[in-house]
Amino acid sequence: MSVKTLTIDGKMMTGVEGDTVFTVAFHNQVQIPRLCHLGGVPDVGACRMCLVEVEGRSKLSASCMTTIEEGMVVRTDTEQLREYRKLLMELLLAEGNHVCSVCVSNGNCELQDLATHLGVDHVRVPYRHPRREVDLSHERFGLDQNRCIACTRCVRTCDEVEGAHVWDMAGRGEKLHLVADLGEPWGNSENCTKCGKCVQVCPTGALFTKGSAVGEMEKDRSFLKYIVYGRERHQWVKKP
């Protein structure tokens, strides 16, 4: 394991070989916007929000998928990047049916928070208003495909942390959607352990606890830290 030194936003930082730009920046208090990254589960680079400029590369790189290199010069917050992120957010908002005023996650939504942070006050692309399903067959939780941004956090958490791999993405393009097992209603899934981890890691109101009204769905993913790091370090008792 060798240590690498790089510059992020003009500050010298160090990381271990194999670390991603995103992780190194995060540990040095540089917050790169993201929707799909989730500490403790593998990255996929699905949301493209964490795009950064790397000196010497003509293309933008997703910082969660870029491993650090010695002498790298990275910029995470330029005028151009801010504009791209804003457009990405507008595309996400126009692609699904994100109606905050009737959403269970209103006020506690990562998509909403990020849109506010990026200064998205209107959407410049036409809304698509797709027709999407709502699955309320599960006894404890619900799935609203209209609010899904295909970040695959639930897919990865179910696979890596819970080990059940109930979820996956099916179809592609505008037909991309979340499926449980072989496309049956969630409540009929044989693999689902009803643990609710997917619900807690979902950044929007796509996965929610049944019975929550508008703005009532607050998510808590502190369990991830205990499970993932506890497993790595064989530390089964929480620190007092």
Binding site: D181, L182, G183, N191
Partner: protein
């Protein structure tokens, strides 16, 4: 296709089993196995996907994800005949829209009569034969530089 005698069916199951065994039931051979299954059965049923998932030791949702990602795989049984209309740029400019409408009209007409359509209409982004535009692949055979009238005649001959 059509009605299948049980003995023929058993043979297909055996052939699929052999395809999986040839790959050593490796989970990374999923696409290859689904290809064989699609060719043998004409479509991928839920039971078939479940069987593949079990034997290749893959989560069922992953198998469904792959099966729905590629256009080649179909989850519904196909009709007796298939028409693949190329809607790539060259074909589109040369009038693929009319060909598509003519083909789809056959299905709608059958449905309106309360019959099961004998034709499955598919679209391809580009079949890579732009010199033959507009092109339709009817039951595996290519119809190059086809006009609407010619296509209608071919479809009439097939009785769809």
């Amino acid at each position: 296709m059509g009605t299948t005698a049980p003995t023929v069916k058993d043979n297909r199951v055996k052939l699929l089993e052999r395809a999986m065994s040839r790959q050593g039931y490796a989970s990374h051979a999923l696409i290859e196995v689904l290809h064989t299954a699609q060719e043998l059965f004409g479509y991928l049923s839920v039971d078939l996907l479940k069987d593949v998932a079990k034997k290749l030791k893959l989560p069922p949702s992953r198998v469904l994800g792959v099966a729905t990602f590629y256009n080649f795989f179909s989850l519904k049984p196909k009709a007796e005949h298939t028409a693949l209309v190329c809607t790539g740029t060259a074909c589109y400019v040369a009038g693929a829209k009319d060909l598509l409408e003519a083909s789809e009209h056959r299905c709608k007409r059958a449905l309106a009569k309360g019959e099961t359509p004998k034709l499955t209409v598919q679209q391809a982004r580009c079949i890579g034969s732009c010199g033959l535009a507009p092109a339709v692949v009817l039951d595996g055979g290519i119809l190059p530089r086809v006009t609407k009238a010619e296509l209608e005649k071919k479809l009439d001959d097939l009785g769809v």
